[in-house]
Amino acid sequence: MATSARRPDAGRSSGPPPAELRLDAEVYSEAAIERARRAFDGLATIAVRRSGRYHLVRFSKVSPDAAARLPDEFGNYALSCLLVHP
């Protein structure tokens, strides 16, 4: 199951610690992830890389207001992109 998890380097930056989201590449297309990345760009620094069958989405320099919900909201947005822009 896709998860969002705290990274060991948490707490090094001044903002909330970075978080990571793992999304199954057999479900979530690259285009959907990219759309979501662009949509959430202003709220964090977002890096996406492929690791096996997963997209690993890493959020750093997260705006404090969005920190708690950002990975989950990103996941929802990416899912909606799958339907709206199949």
């Binding site: 896709a2 057999e26 479900v27 996941g75 899912l79 339907l83």
Partner: protein, 150 residues
């Protein structure tokens, strides 16, 4: 396909068989829960799809289980919608196309076939499936796939 509540994660997990509920059906059902939950999907071996519905606020066990059950209902709803939509796609294209064309500004509509011509074309093509025998329209799909006028 029983929903499994994960209280620690404030979530409920449902695993569905993609042989029964094809991917577009699972996606459409999941989409309907985006406002209420955080939804994540993952492929599982054996043509199965795992769906996790996570509460946006802390939810108790009954509410989480209820969400899972609602998701089942939504799957059935989306499955029927998917099947009807596949069955009627040509018909929809003709009716919706005709209706939208009717609203086009006069010049654009004039460039298209006149209503009468269009109607003749449409009905010779049998958009309403009038010429499709009952068995083909409602019967066993595996045996009868022919559409339209013979």
């Amino acid at each position: 396909m029983d929903p499994k509540v994960d209280r620690q994660a404030n979530a409920v997990n449902v695993v569905l068989d993609e042989g029964v509920f094809p991917r577009p059906v699972g996606l459409a059902a999941a989409y309907r829960f985006l406002e209420r939950c955080y939804v994540q999907l993952e492929r599982r071996p054996g043509r199965r799809l795992a769906v996790r519905l996570k509460g946006k606020a802390p939810l108790d066990e009954d509410v989480l289980r209820g969400l899972g059950e609602e998701f089942h209902n939504e799957l059935v709803n989306q499955l029927v919608r998917h099947q009807v939509s596949e069955r009627t796609d040509q018909l929809r294209a003709v009716i919706v196309g005709r209706a939208l064309l009717s609203a086009e500004p006069a010049e654009a509509a004039a460039a298209a076939p006149a209503a009468d011509d269009a109607a003749c074309l449409d009905y010779l093509e049998d958009p309403l499936g009038i010429a499709v025998p009952w068995e083909e329209k409602h019967g066993d799909k595996r045996k009868t796939t022919r559409r339209g006028k013979k």
